[in-house]
Point group: C2
Chain length 522, copies 2
């Protein structure tokens, strides 16, 4: 009863075609691609509630248990993201005979170009793809982009294709939008709030998956926000019964976990969802942790109250703070607290609206990315400009109007040239504006200061007399890299530092937003 299922051109590259049950596999799936099995099964009763479906995927001694889901119209599906190449086999399990005991094999081939696998925590404070490629998070947010008319959604994708962002925060549930009703809803029923919470609307989720798949094709991680407070009871998705919340989580995970670019954000501004308490959030984390066979990254985003990110199911820190990324000494603080990668996912937005969270200049937006980087952390962008049609990148996507994105592209390029271990603060309590890898690589950032020169002095760790360095002056706003002629040889200066042996300085243009890149010479 199994057959190939094609989800549309954008996903073709990574969806395998599975042969009939018990047959040897059809077209191979790539490593970290998505194998999808489709099975016909019962339509009677309520399959969302009554039919259990899972499958065991096996390679040698290793097994991975994966939940299936009902996709409507008598169709059941199972998705699997293999993380090793070679032959795999599977067997289905169900409380319905038509879906139980189906078997098959398939072949996993090497990942294609641009497929580095899912993003994982690397070391303590950084990220890397599963194949080891560093992941330098340069995020943005467009909450409701998948709830827009098709033309807007296509425009958003086109914008992203030319933008510097490699992670996008996005809501599953629609916002309450007074001007436009979303085209799809996650449950069967009638808007605004006559929902049959026992029946998902598969079309809603197929659309969501299409968009997540398109982000994947663009090399963009989808930070999928599972709950949010912007419904305000209008649709009621922020106030569903506890068992509906839990079934919803299992359904989303069953559908989306096989997309390698998924991150789970349990909620946006969780503390504004006042009907849910800390035990609820803990429980949601536990469900996602238990049901996701691939252990995608998990975090939760706050308004005024921080979730306790030391809890074991939190893989990285996702924080909103309007003040935290204003300087590197401040930004480093949560890194030390949590001992996990830290992403400042909301640091106010570039824009010109009256709300004070939407008034950052482009210069301030870019500064926060740099300050975050010097602190060994990561930052998220978004923008909101006054618009007669109530369009904003933050709310709906479309186009970017701000001046920060090109500078963030330059910023990302600089990160990409940094050591794979990630940028580590060099001397975190001493107003020392450098991060990098002691003895090898130093990235310094002067922010709003506008020094006319910088004496060549580096903090002691990793240094020894006679080491030689080259330097480049980076204008982070004008996006230029200017090599400093010659080399700098260092001598110990005092208990804390080494300096150029001849006491030389580097001339700077006395403008703000300047950076220095200092690299060890052989």
């Amino acid at each position: 009863m199994m057959r190939a299922l094609l989800l549309g051109a954008a996903l073709l590259a990574s969806v395998a075609t599975a042969a009939h049950a018990r047959a040897q596999g059809g077209a191979p799936v790539e490593r970290w691609g998505t194998l999808e099995l489709a099975l016909a099964g019962p339509r009677d009763g309520n399959p969302f509630i009554e039919v259990a479906l899972s499958a065991t995927f096996r390679q040698g001694a290793r097994t991975v248990l994966v939940d299936g889901f009902y996709d409507g119209e008598g169709q059941y599906k199972l998705r699997f993201m293999p993380d090793t190449v070679g032959q795999w086999e599977y067997q289905t399990h169900s409380n319905r005979a038509a879906l139980d005991g189906q078997r098959g094999t398939f072949t996993v081939v090497a990942a294609g170009a641009g497929n580095h696998g899912p993003v994982r925590v690397k070391g303590v404070h950084h990220f890397a793809y599963a194949d080891g490629t560093p992941f330098w998070q340069v995020g943005t947010t467009s909450y409701g982009w998948t709830h827009q008319p098709p033309a807007v959604e296509r425009q958003t994708l086109a914008t992203l294709a030319g933008a510097p962002f490699n992670k996008l925060r996005m809501l599953v549930f629609p916002n309450h939008d007074v001007k436009h009703q979303p085209p799809r809803f996650p449950f069967a029923g009638t808007p605004p709030k006559e929902w049959d919470f026992t029946r998902f609307d598969p079309a809603f989720f197929r659309h969501l998956e299409q968009r997540v798949g398109e982000l994947r094709a663009l090399g963009i991680e989808a930070d999928v926000i599972l709950f949010h407070p912007y419904d305000k009871g209008y649709w009621g998705f922020d106030q569903m019964p506890a068992e509906v919340n839990e079934r919803y989580l299992r359904y989303v995970v069953a559908r989306l976990a096989a997309y390698r670019n998924v991150w789970w954000s349990i909620a946006n501004e969780f503390d504004y969802l006042v009907k849910k308490g800390m035990p609820d959030w803990d429980r949601y984390f536990e469900i996602v942790q238990a049901r996701d066979p691939y252990q995608h990254l998990r975090s939760i985003h706050n308004a005024m109250v921080l979730y306790n990110h030391t809890k074991p199911w939190v893989t990285h820190v996702s924080v909103q703070s309007g003040a935290i990324a204003q300087d590197f000494e401040r930004a480093v603080l949560l890194r030390d607290v949590y001992m996990k990668p830290v992403v400042y996912d909301e640091v106010k937005y570039e824009g010109n609206i009256e709300r004070r969270w939407g008034q950052l200049s482009a210069q301030e937006m870019v500064l926060r990315f740099w300050m975050g980087a010097i602190a060994g952390t990561y930052v998220g962008h978004s923008e909101i400009f006054k618009d007669p049609d109530d369009m904003s990148w933050l709310g709906k996507g479309g186009t970017l109007r701000g001046a920060s994105p090109p500078r963030l592209a330059f910023f990302r390029q600089v990160l990409a040239g940094s050591p794979a271990e990630g940028l580590e603060p060099i001397d975190k309590w001493q107003e020392h504006p450098f991060a990098g890898k002691p003895g090898h690589y130093y990235l310094g950032y002067f922010g709003r200061q506008a020094p006319a020169s910088w004496p060549f002095v580096l903090a002691k760790p990793g240094l020894a007399d006679g080491m030689r360095f080259k330097a480049e002056v980076l204008d982070t706003w004008n996006m230029t890299v200017t090599p400093v002629p010659g080399a700098f040889e260092i001598r110990k200066r005092d208990n804390y530092s080494f300096a150029d042996k001849d006491g030389r300085s580097i001339a700077l243009p006395a403008r703000p937003y300047m950076a220095l890149r200092i690299t060890r010479l052989p």
Copy 2:
């Protein structure tokens, strides 16, 4: 076999004289004072190891189990800090007949002047004494003050009697001091490191208790540091076997817990004690938590690595950071993370030494207390000035030479006039330099800025049109309070703030370190 024991004049006020066993009590003990019972018992073998002693103290249905300890020379002691007035009774328990089954009763009377009980956490982020009196922490550190010649220790006490500090961080174990050998050691044996770790030296602990009692008489909390890394293996108290560490903790708690002014600091710069790992620190917390009948405040102090202060046995946050209290927006961050009172116990020191942690100007030291307060947190002082005899307040006590203490006295006076609920940041992400109680009391601090005026604008929470306020200009450095003539009546200004209805400003002297105190008028 019980008899009164007098510990010296300084402690007389709070040590009760207990009558003979089974007799009705003698002189009453005051609430939160210390009842001490002394029992004669076996001298043979090793009483520190072999003799178990405890007592149950009972009032009505309530019982408190208290550990006793061997004080040498065949003397055993039990100390109890009653927290309610009225009649109490006790019964001893021991594996030695001479110490077992002793009973008696005693009377607890109201606390005397200056005795407010132990300090507890109040609400989420503040402290109060057990009787409800707010405790506005203004701390200092003198690590080795109890390991000095008597004249120096007396001088330290005299200095403290005239200083603004209400908490003192102090080590139990001596430092390694190259110039002076400490007069006493905690174990029997021969310095530098031939110790019999199975036998404490009671004289060492009696001296420590005397000093803790003298601090109590001065109204100063003793933040007792149980381990520290400044031994560096010289005496070896930083590298004792695990069972010795645990026995030591039980012994210290049995001796000191009945002093109401004790706080437990499990370690100073715990992460520099490289032979102990996180599970060890967790275990030490658990021992102290389990053995202390009064649940004194517990924390642990770091160097470069933060302990996870979200753990349940941590009552408040004790942090060293050279950068954290430089501004209030930074200082507030850990408050939100931990949801416990935050004390920045080490923010570098006032002084003039070459080490960069000992070079703060008095102005910078005082600034950090103010910035901490505006962030709703608490700060600790110390000082270290160059000295031919290697004397410093930080290391040994004696006298204070810095210029910050009088300003910290002024600071403490301002705190003491603030609302009992504690200072709460008013608008924490918006560079709004005010803490207080919305609608009632605002304390603003401009730090290094030197504004010539301040437009009367307050953040919205708690405000309504027509409210009236008086204002005072505080010069935190010159320690003056200047009332601003007249009253300010407010009107809503925008979505975020209220302002003086006539748009008035308050004139300021364009000097740094100015503060404003704004108080609601009836």
